[in-house]
């Protein structure tokens, strides 16, 4: 073996050693990061929270100004839809007045809370993750735990607490692909003798949801309202979820699906409510 080939082998060995030691140090770094993951995330939240809130409000104002221009082509169609919806609502009002079930259709969340003795914590949205996850400014120091339901003032379901840090939390929206909630369908022409129709609402990503697992023989219509059924004991019952916009029925499948227009609106959600004692109540 000559001298040059021996030195090149030594060089290669040194390089491998360098790469190996670098990889080991890197793995230790990642491991240490994950031990203090919660503290690191909370520290960055505390540090950036005031700036983040300012930018969030600025973005909200700017999108409010720009949205009418961006949606100008949809205005005619939207107007037509609103007219139809108005007519439907008028017919529903008259129906409810006639049957005397107006109180049942009331979803005033504050009244609901008083009735059911729910304790809530008010929180503000401070950010959004690309995967249908939002951050709120309340955390474990405010009594928030994983799995607690998050709703709006009007009783619209947003999602549930997914991760809790000391001063903030992450909420998995019902539109997240990993979200599945049990719902019941409130039909426009509600017949008290008809059996309750149940299904599940799955997240589709990108702030969209769809209805699934409704039996083929059960009749659902466009415009029917979906509310929580509380079967899975995560959300209280009768909270608003969305409205059926298009039914997708296939005789070869045992269940029918439907496209759903979700009621939650992240952009206009200033304050949300975390129900802190629902599980204990049930």
């Amino acid at each position: 073996m000559n001298v040059s080939s021996a030195s090149s082998i030594n060089k290669k060995k040194k390089n491998y050693l360098k790469i190996l030691s670098g990889a080991i140090i890197f793995c230790i770094f990642i491991f240490v990061l994950n031990i203090f993951s919660s503290q690191i995330k909370n520290y960055f939240y505390l540090l950036s929270s005031p700036v983040q809130k300012t930018f969030f409000t600025a973005g909200e104002s700017l999108s409010g100004i720009l949205n009418p221009f961006l949606n100008i082509y949809n205005l005619a169609g939207e107007n037509e839809n609103l007219k139809k919806e108005n007519q439907n609502l008028l017919s529903q009002i008259s129906l409810l007045q006639a049957t005397g079930e107006g109180l049942q259709a009331s979803f005033d969340f504050s009244a609901n809370c008083q009735d059911k003795n729910f304790t809530t914590v008010m929180a503000s949205v401070i950010g959004l993750d690309g995967q249908d996850i939002i951050s709120i400014n309340k955390g474990s120091s405010d009594g928030i735990l994983e799995g607690m339901p998050v709703v709006s003032q009007q009783g619209v379901v947003f999602g549930k607490i997914f991760a809790v840090y000391k001063n903030f939390s992450k909420v998995m929206l019902i539109s997240n692909k990993n979200s599945v909630i049990d719902v019941k369908i409130q039909q426009k022409t509600a017949d008290p003798l008809m059996p309750e129709i149940n299904g599940v609402v799955r997240g589709n990503g990108g702030f969209s949801i769809f209805l699934d697992l409704v039996q083929v023989d059960q009749e659902i219509k466009e415009g029917d309202i979906l509310v929580t059924s509380s079967l899975e004991k995560v959300f209280p019952k009768d909270l608003l979820v969305g409205k059926i916009t298009k039914i997708e029925k296939n005789d070869q499948k045992p269940f029918q699906q439907a496209q759903v227009e979700q009621f939650f609106e992240v952009k206009s959600a200033d304050n949300l409510f975390v129900i802190t004692n629902y599980k204990q109540e049930n």
């Binding site: 990642i30 990061l33 994950n34 993951s37 690191i40 995330k41 960055f44 950036s48 700036v51 983040q52 809130k53 300012t54 930018f55 969030f56 600025a58 973005g59 909200e60 700017l62 999108s63 401070i126 950010g127 959004l128 993750d129 690309g130 995967q131 996850i133 951050s135 997914f162 991760a163 992450k170 692909k177 990993n178 990503g205 990108g206 702030f207 969209s208 992240v266 952009k267």
Partner: protein
């Protein structure tokens, strides 16, 4: 000596805050703007060949901020971005044209492929390590997201290219 890493960290942090607050109101058909990824890709693309320490630094900083402001475990994005950065540098060295070091076509192509890779791999990692529920797949919202991000990336690329050219002319 410390100015470049300091400015890089500040930029990544500022872009992370912007991305998670201001731009959350500008989501189109599920497409979200990933400013940190755009900045990271620009840094890597315009970095000299074989400056592996810098490429490593950009991947660590961008990945760290992406993970901090998301629900993924810390380290997932760092590893993914490191792999992507080295792939980009390797591909760049193969694609290098004599007349133009930084071609727009190359940039757009590499950016799109890297973005798809990162999104799908991140979703897979989240599926494996965080929420094992729905397996990731190529969706319409991902296509919208690529186009949305590409628009901003190309704009930033054109600005950066002018700046890099000026520096090169001076040298």
């Amino acid at each position: 000596m410390w100015l470049k890493p300091f400015i890089t960290i500040i930029l990544f942090y500022f872009f992370a805050i912007l991305q998670n607050s201001f731009f959350t109101h500008f989501v189109f058909s599920g497409g979200v703007l990933n400013l940190i990824f755009i900045l990271f890709f620009l840094f890597v693309f315009f970095e000299k060949q074989k400056s592996y320490y810098w490429v490593f630094f950009y991947a660590v900083m961008a990945g760290l901020f992406l993970d901090i402001f998301s629900y993924a475990s810390l380290g997932i994005s760092i590893v993914l971005l490191m792999a992507i950065a080295f792939l980009v540098k390797k591909t760049q060295s193969l694609l290098k044209e004599e007349k133009d070091d930084f071609s727009l076509v190359h940039f757009a192509l590499l950016f799109s492929v890297s973005f798809i890779l990162y999104s799908l791999l991140l979703q897979t990692c989240i599926f494996i390590f965080v929420v094992p529920h729905v397996f990731p797949k190529f969706s319409l919202s991902l296509i919208v997201e690529i186009i949305y991000n590409l628009m901003f990336a190309v704009l930033a690329f054109l600005i950066c290219k002018k700046y890099v050219k000026k520096i090169n002319e001076r040298i």
